[in-house]
C-alpha cells in the first residue's frame, strides 16, 4: 500500500511546503492548548476541500436524550452526519501530543534551526543494559541465551534427542540481563526568565509572557536533556521566585531593570559555571525604566557580563497601554548589530509565534 506516499504529501501540504494556495483550507485550530502536566491538547490538522454544503449554524439535527425544549444540548454536532461512508475527511478530534512531539511541530512550523550547544559537557551517570550475568532477578532473565546454553549442554552431553527435543534448563544455564553504569556527557542549559511586574504590566501582558516562556522551554528542552529554569521578578528591586509566583505576582511601584540583571548575574556566577552551562537569560518588560542612569547601568552589565557569558540574551517587549517602549530603543542604539542580543517586540497574542521565531531562529 502506498499510504506513506499520500501521508507525506498531506504532511507537506499542511506544512505549506507544497501547494501554498491550500493554506486557507487547512484547519490548524489552536496550537496552544491547555497545559496539563506534560501534555498539551491540539487538534489534528485537516483540509476541507470546498464543496457546496449547508452553513453549519443554520442546520439542526436529531438527537437523543433527556431535557426540556429550549435546553442546551451538550457538545458540538458532528459534521457530516449521514454522509457517505469513508468519503469525508472532517474528523476534528482533539488529541494529545507529548511535549517532544509539540517541539517537533513548533520547530517545523517556524523552521527553527537546531541549537548547537557550546561549552564542555558535564558527565552524567547513566545505566545501560548491555551485558549478561549468571545471577540476577527472574524478571531480567534472558530467555534466548539461557535456552542456548541449555541446548549446548544437552548436545555436548549427548542427551539431545531430535525426535523429542525437550530441553530442561538447570540453574547453571540461566543468564540475566545486567547493566553497566557509564558516564555520558550531556549538554546542560539554564534559562533565566526575568519579568517586570510593575503596575504597567497587566494580566494580558503576563499571559503573553507565560505562553512565550512555555514555548521557549519546550524548544530548549528538546535540545538539552538537563534544562533548568529560574525565575526573577522585579519592580524597583528584584527577587527570585518559583514559577507559579512568577506568573501571578503583580506589584506596583517603580522599575529598576538593573536590579534584575544584577541578580541574574549573581545567580550565574554562583551556580552556573559558564564553561559548563549553556545560559539563556530572557527579559520581558513593557520597556519602561525609571531613569537613564539605570538604563546605562543595564547596558554595562549586558556588555561586560551577560553577552560574553550567555548563548544569547533575549529581550521581549510586550506592548502595554502605559509602557513607553524606551528600553527597546536604548538597546538597539547601544548594540546595533550584536548577534548575541535578540530583541523582539510582541504587540499581541497573535505575534507570539513570530516572536518565538525571533528568539530561537538563530540556532544559538
Amino acid at each position: 500500500m502506498s499510504i506513506r506516499e499520500d501521508h507525506n504529501r498531506f504532511r507537506d501540504i499542511i506544512r505549506g511546503r507544497i501547494k501554498r494556495h491550500f493554506k486557507e483550507y487547512v484547519k490548524h485550530g489552536e496550537m496552544i492548548g491547555k497545559r496539563e502536566d506534560e501534555y498539551v491538547k491540539i487538534p489534528v490538522p485537516s483540509i476541507d476541500l470546498p464543496r457546496f454544503k449547508y452553513g453549519p449554524k443554520q442546520r439542526g439535527g436529531v438527537g437523543q436524550g433527556d431535557g426540556q425544549e429550549g435546553e442546551a444540548v451538550a457538545g458540538e454536532p458532528q459534521d457530516g452526519t449521514g454522509e457517505a461512508g469513508n468519503q469525508e475527511g472532517q474528523h476534528v478530534l482533539e488529541t494529545e501530543v507529548s511535549l517532544e512531539e509539540l517541539a517537533e511541530i513548533l520547530g517545523e512550523e517556524l523552521e527553527l534551526p537546531r541549537i548547537q550547544p557550546k561549552g564542555t559537557k558535564l558527565n552524567v551517570n547513566k545505566n545501560k543494559y548491555s551485558g549478561l550475568s549468571p545471577v540476577g532477578p527472574d524478571s531480567l532473565r534472558h530467555f534466548k541465551s539461557s535456552y542456548k546454553r541449555a541446548l549446548k549442554r544437552y548436545i555436548v552431553s549427548g542427551a539431545y534427542d531430535k525426535n523429542n527435543p525437550v530441553i530442561v534448563p538447570i540453574r547453571n544455564d540461566f543468564r540475566y540481563r545486567s547493566f553497566r553504569t557509564s558516564a555520558v556527557p550531556q549538554a546542560n542549559a539554564v534559562v533565566i526568565y526575568m519579568m517586570d511586574v510593575s503596575g504597567s504590566m497587566g494580566d494580558e501582558q503576563k499571559e503573553i509572557v507565560r505562553l512565550e516562556s512555555f514555548w521557549i522551554n519546550t524548544w530548549l528542552k528538546k535540545h538539552y536533556k538537563g534544562l533548568e529554569t529560574r525565575f526573577i521578578i522585579h519592580d524597583a528591586a528584584a527577587r527570585e521566585v518559583d514559577e507559579d509566583t512568577f506568573f501571578k505576582t503583580s506589584e506596583s511601584g517603580g522599575t529598576l531593570i538593573s536590579s534584575a540583571y544584577r541578580l541574574c548575574k549573581d545567580i550565574i556566577e554562583s551556580e552556573y559555571p559558564v564553561n559548563e552551562w549553556n545560559i539563556y537569560p530572557f527579559h520581558f518588560s513593557d520597556g519602561d525604566n525609571w531613569s537613564g542612569e539605570d538604563t546605562r547601568l543595564c547596558m554595562k552589565i549586558l556588555k561586560d557580563f551577560m553577552l560574553p557569558n550567555s548563548n544569547m540574551f533575549g529581550y521581549g517587549q510586550v506592548e502595554s497601554k502605559y509602557g513607553s517602549g524606551q528600553f527597546l530603543k536604548d538597546l538597539q542604539r547601544e548594540f546595533p548589530d550584536d548577534e548575541r542580543l535578540v530583541i523582539s517586540k510582541i504587540e499581541n497574542r497573535d505575534k507570539i509565534l513570530d516572536s518565538i521565531k525571533d528568539f530561537l531562529g538563530k540556532g544559538k
Binding site: 500500500m1 501547494k19 449547508y54 443554520q58 438527537g63 452526519t81 449521514g82 468519503q87 488529541t95
Partner: protein
C-alpha cells in the same frame, strides 16, 4: 495481511452456517487479519488496498492513526461490497470481538447482496479501483504530479453533484421515447369522452381551443429546445464530462471520480439500514448462539460502545437496530394495516396482539426494498420517537448554543428526512450551459429553507471554473435574497435578482461586485 487462525476459521465456519440458518444470503466472504496500521490504511482508502495517489487518503490515515494511537477511536472491522466480499479483522482483538465482528460482517454482506439499491454497484470494484490507480499514475508520469493532483482536487470539490437515483431508472430506447412523446403530444389537452356520448366530443374538446393550446405548447418547447441542457441536469459530473472543454486525460479522471462516487452512493443511502441490519444479526446470533457465559461482560461493553447515542450525534447503528426490532415486534403482533391505523384507544393499542407472527418475514422484505429515506418515512412512529427520547436541536443565535428545539413527532421526522435526502447536501443542477448567450455555466441550487455556506460556495465555484473554463454562476438564496453568484476567472460577483427585477426593463443594471 494474513489468513485467519485455525480457531477463528472454526468460528467463521460455525457462524457462517448459523447465519445461513437464519435465512441470511451472502456472497462468499474472505476474512483477513490485519494490524491496526493496515486497518487504518485500508480505512483511509475506503476499504480498497489499491487507490490512486491522493493526499486526502493520507489525511484520513493521519486522523485515524492518531485517533487509534491516543486511544480515542478504533476500527473493529471493515467489509467491502464486492463478490466475493472481503472483510478485515483487527489483529489482537479478543476472540469475543472477532466473533461479534464475523457475525456483523455476514449481516452486511447479506445486505450488500440483497438490498435493491446495491443491484447496480460493480462487484468487481477491487479491480476497477486498481485500474483507476494505474491510469491516474500514468497521467501523473506524463503530465506531472501537481497538474494531475490539482485537477483531481477540483473534481473532488464537486464529486457529490451526481444523480444518485439515475442508475435505477430504466433507460428506454430512443425510438420508444420518441413514440411516447408523439403520443403525449397528440393527446395533450384532450379530455376523455365516454363512448356512448361521442356526440359531445366537439363540446368537451373544442377543436380550435385544442389547436390553440397545442400551438402554445409547441412554442414553449421550441424555446425549451434552444436551452441547453433541455432539462436541468442533476448529474453535473456527467454533464461536465460530455460538454466541458477537457483534455482526454482530464475527461478520464473526471469519469473515474464519478464512477467511484456512484459506487459509494448506495452505502450512503442505506447507512442506517445497513448498520442496523448487521447490528440486528450480530446481537441476535451472539446472544442466542455464539457467546459463552464468560464473554457476556466484554460483549456488552463493546456493544454498548457502538450503540451509544450522544445528545447531538445521530447513531445509525442504534436507530437502525431499534427500528428493525420495532418493525419485527409490530408485525409479530399484527400492529399494522387499516384497523391498527384507525384505532385511537391507547390501551387497546398497547395490548394489541393478533398473533400475526409476520415479523421475520417483514424485516427481510424491508432489507430488500427500502433505503434510509423510505425506511424512516414508513417505519418511524411517534411511539418509537417517544420511547427513544428523540428531539430536534437547532442553533440559537442569541445564546450561541445548540438547543433542544422540539420533541414534536412530525418535526423530528421532517428533520430526519431532510438530513437523509441527498445526504443532507444541497441539490444542485445544471440549468443553462449557454448562460447570457456566452457559453457561461449556470447552476441552480434548489433552495429548501437552508442557505449554503458562502465561503465554501465561492471556493467551489472557483473549482468549477477550472473545469468549465468559462465564467460559472450559481443561483441560490442567501439571507432571504435570491442571488446569482458568479466567478469569471478573476473575481467573484454577486447579483441580487430581486433588485434586478424591480428595475424598469431595458435599463442596464450594475452587478454588485464583491471580491
Amino acid at each position: 495481511m494474513a489468513n485467519i487462525s485455525l480457531e477463528l476459521e472454526r468460528w467463521r465456519a460455525k457462524i457462517e452456517k448459523m447465519a445461513s440458518g437464519y435465512g441470511l444470503d451472502f456472497f462468499d466472504t474472505i476474512f483477513e487479519i490485519v494490524t491496526y496500521d493496515q486497518m487504518n490504511q485500508l480505512a483511509a482508502y475506503g476499504g480498497f488496498p489499491v487507490r490512486y495517489p491522493h493526499w486526502r487518503f493520507g489525511m484520513e490515515y493521519e486522523s485515524l492513526s492518531k485517533g487509534y494511537e491516543y486511544g480515542l477511536s478504533k476500527i473493529y472491522e471493515m467489509v467491502i461490497n464486492t463478490d466475493p466480499s472481503y472483510a478485515y479483522l483487527l489483529e489482537g482483538n479478543r476472540l469475543v470481538d472477532h466473533k461479534l465482528v464475523i457475525a456483523h460482517v455476514f449481516g452486511h454482506v447479506d445486505f450488500f447482496k440483497n438490498n435493491q439499491w446495491f443491484t447496480h454497484t460493480n462487484r468487481k470494484m477491487m479491480d476497477v479501483m486498481a485500474n483507476h490507480s494505474t491510469r491516474i499514475r500514468r497521467y501523473i508520469d506524463r503530465y506531472g504530479r501537481e497538474t494531475v493532483e490539482d485537477f483531481i482536487d477540483a473534481c473532488l470539490s464537486i464529486e457529490n453533484l451526481i444523480d444518485r437515483y439515475s442508475p435505477y431508472i430504466k433507460k428506454e430506447t430512443q425510438a420508444e421515447l420518441k413514440a411516447e412523446e408523439e403520443r403525449q403530444k397528440k393527446s395533450a389537452y384532450l379530455l376523455p369522452v365516454d363512448q356512448e356520448r361521442e356526440y359531445l366530443d366537439e363540446y368537451i374538446n373544442p377543436p380550435d381551443f385544442i389547436e390553440q393550446m397545442q400551438k402554445k405548447t409547441a412554442e414553449q418547447e421550441a424555446i425549451q429546445e434552444l436551452k441547453f441542457p433541455n432539462q436541468p441536469e442533476r448529474d453535473v459530473l456527467l454533464f461536465l464530462m460530455h460538454y466541458a472543454p477537457l483534455k482526454a486525460w482530464q475527461q478520464d479522471v473526471l469519469g473515474i471520480i464519478r464512477e467511484e462516487s456512484y459506487y459509494y452512493a448506495p452505502q450512503g443511502m442505506t447507512k442506517i439500514m445497513n448498520e442496523g441490519w448487521a447490528s440486528y444479526w450480530h446481537s441476535t446470533m451472539m446472544t442466542k448462539d455464539i457467546m459463552d457465559d464468560s464473554e457476556i461482560i466484554d460483549y456488552a461493553d463493546v456493544n454498548s460502545g457502538t450503540m451509544a447515542m450522544s445528545p447531538t450525534g445521530f447513531n445509525p447503528y442504534k436507530v437502525g437496530v431499534e427500528l428493525y426490532r420495532d418493525i419485527e415486534s409490530r408485525w409479530n403482533k399484527g400492529q399494522f394495516g387499516k384497523e391498527w391505523n384507525e384505532c385511537t384507544d391507547i390501551a387497546t393499542k398497547k395490548s394489541w396482539d393478533t398473533g400475526a407472527g409476520l415479523g421475520k418475514e417483514k424485516i427481510f422484505e424491508v432489507r430488500r426494498n427500502y433505503n434510509d429515506v423510505t425506511f424512516i418515512d414508513e417505519f418511524l412512529t411517534e411511539e418509537f420517537c417517544i420511547k427513544n427520547k428523540f428531539f430536534v436541536y437547532k442553533f440559537n443565535k442569541r445564546t450561541g448554543k445548540y438547543e433542544i428545539d422540539t420533541r414534536d413527532f412530525p418535526l423530528i421526522k421532517k428533520q430526519l428526512l431532510f438530513q437523509l435526502t441527498n445526504f443532507g447536501q444541497p441539490i444542485i443542477k445544471v440549468e443553462n450551459a449557454n448562460f447570457k448567450n456566452r457559453g457561461e455555466l449556470l447552476l441552480v441550487h434548489l433552495w429548501e429553507g437552508i442557505d449554503m455556506q458562502p465561503d465554501f460556495m465561492k471556493a467551489t465555484l472557483v473549482n468549477v471554473f477550472k473545469i468549465w473554463r468559462r465564467p460559472v454562476h450559481i443561483a441560490t438564496v442567501q439571507d432571504q435574497k435570491r442571488i446569482v453568484v458568479g466567478f469569471d476567472g478573476k473575481e467573484i460577483s454577486e447579483l441580487n435578482i430581486d433588485e434586478e427585477e424591480k428595475l424598469p426593463e431595458g435599463q442596464e443594471s450594475k452587478a454588485d461586485k464583491k471580491s
